[in-house]
């Protein structure tokens, strides 16, 4: 599958790209300091952006911690440049966009609450990175609503811990995400049958985990449920909870 990953110079972009070893990955970032095979592109409304998405089957658009800067530059990136990217992508008939967001948009909710994708996010006004990430979600959502491209927003847990799930668990953080789990979800999101629009919460399962993963379970079978103990009835897929 030919995939375009944005903000490829960032740590998040590199983590995402590192999870896609089985795919033909094209990396891009804004023109300042692009190196090592990363296509420099400012995501303007121009032919360069059209060429960037030509032949691409899926875009992974790094929403949170993809870019750095002040509020103006972040809002510009996640509103205008995201609009340009998705318009070019929809004109090129790219099938889907995976938008990398963050569960920090829901961190105002106390840990005892059963926060799923059905809980409204509450972005802060004084954290431009989170506010801009939220705006990026909404821009993507409107492209999905107009049925121009499918969008799955993956809201990732934090901190992101390199390696296996056990390393995330060992941090003691209740919303931690191991990069192995992220890779599992990303690859599933690229291949799974998805709806026009969906929010998906993604963190590593852990004792006392903060966010429920109903959408990830339904769409990507993540996390793999533990084996049914002998003698217990097997849960039917899609059964009411």
């Amino acid at each position: 599958m030919k995939i375009l990953v944005t903000s490829a110079m960032s740590a998040m972009g590199r983590t995402v790209a590192g999870a896609l070893k089985k795919h033909d990955v094209k990396l891009t970032d804004l023109t300042g300091g692009c190196t090592g095979g990363i296509v420099a592109n400012n995501l303007n409304h121009d032919a360069e952006t059209d060429r960037l998405v030509d032949g691409v089957e899926a875009i992974i658009h790094t929403g949170y911690e993809g870019q750095e800067g002040d509020a103006s530059s972040l809002l510009d990136y996640y509103s205008r440049r995201t609009y340009n990217l998705l318009l070019a992508a929809s004109n090129a008939r790219v099938d889907r966009c995976i938008y990398i967001s963050t569960l920090k948009l829901l961190q105002d909710y106390e840990e005892n609450l059963t926060v799923t994708e059905r809980w409204r996010s509450h972005p802060p006004s004084n954290d431009p990175a989170l506010l801009a990430c939220h705006i990026g979600e909404l821009v993507c959502k409107e492209f999905a609503r107009d049925r121009l491209i499918k969008v799955a927003t993956l809201r990732l847990g934090w901190p992101i811990v390199t390696g296996q799930r056990s390393k995330a668990t060992a941090t003691g953080e209740t919303a931690a995400l191991a990069t192995d789990d992220l890779a599992t979800v990303l690859n599933a999101a690229l291949g799974a049958k998805i709806e026009q629009w969906q929010d998906v919460h993604v963190q590593s399962p852990a004792p006392g985990q903060r966010y429920l993963l109903h959408a990830a379970q339904k769409l990507f079978s993540f996390p793999v449920p533990p084996p049914t103990p002998p003698g217990q009835p097997v849960a039917r897929k899609g059964a009411r909870r």
Binding site: H45, S72, L75, D76, R80, Y83, S125, H134, L138, V139
Partner: protein, 254 residues
């Protein structure tokens, strides 16, 4: 009240100035210079310039945002989205508790609503769709909503669609008026457009149901495609012109 008007020299601005001139102290800003003889304080200002907006808001009691740029693929976002962030940052910085934002109806009621439904009201969740003008204004509005959720300030948003001259009922750029041939069911005379802003500037904040309220701003018309009762009920807005020559075949035009 000391009122800062952002984008106060566009199409709507002069009507707002006229409605408020005798009641408030106005600081009008725009990228375009005002006409000769303009009697209020004026600053040449681009709403996308954060520092300039911060400076212009100093000492004000209220900010009214009339700025808009519809079609340019960069400027639309600069003005309508980032400009709103700048306005809200300035409100927080200077402790300004009242912000009046304006925009087009479809920043809330995009085609997925308008092409399908009736009884559309200003309290629906926004569905702007992907038209540049609608979406860039909708994202600006979302920034306003987030700030209202997080700070002790109020955002009153007035949505407009079709404006008509009170005399001929001509719409902008319209050469010929087709009376008795129906109209956009979200229309208002320019004079009343300005009056609506005045109502938003003057309403007691304690009368607002929440810190972020949106209003459909149009006249009393019978279509029931959109609802406009809220602005009359909450802001006390009373449109003077009812545009009946457009939608009532029995209404004489001469």
């Amino acid at each position: 009240m000391k009122v800062l008007l952002l984008g106060g020299n566009g199409m709507l601005g002069p009507w707002v100035v006229k409605a408020m001139a005798d009641r408030h102290q106005l600081r009008v800003t725009d990228v375009n210079e005002p006409r000769k003889g303009f009697k209020h304080e004026f600053r040449n200002l681009d709403a996308s310039n954060l520092d300039a907006v911060l400076r212009a808001a100093e000492g004000m009691d209220c900010i009214v945002n009339l700025s808009v740029l519809r079609h340019d693929r960069k400027l639309a976002w600069d003005v309508s989205t980032r400009g709103n962030y700048n306005m809200m940052a300035a409100a927080v910085e200077h402790g300004i508790r009242r912000v009046v934002n304006t925009g087009p109806h479809f920043q809330l009621s995009g085609p997925q609503y308008e092409d399908w439904d009736f009884g559309l009201n200003p309290d629906m969740p926004p569905q702007p769709g992907t038209r540049l003008y609608a979406l860039s204004k909708a994202m600006g509005q979302e920034i306003c909503r987030v700030f209202a959720e997080r700070h002790d300030l109020y955002v009153i948003t007035l949505l407009y669609y079709n404006m008509k001259l009170p005399g001929s009922l001509a719409a902008p750029l319209e050469k010929q008026v087709n009376y008795h041939d129906d109209m956009t069911p979200f229309s208002l005379a320019w004079t009343d457009c300005g009056e609506a802003v005045r109502c938003a500037v003057e309403v007691e904040l304690s009368k607002l149901p929440s810190r972020c309220e949106t209003f459909h701003t149009f006249s009393d018309i019978p279509h029931d495609k959109f609802k406009s009762d809220k602005i009359q009920r909450v802001l006390g807005f009373r449109p003077r012109y009812h545009l009946e020559a457009m939608w009532n075949k029995g209404y004489k035009t001469t």
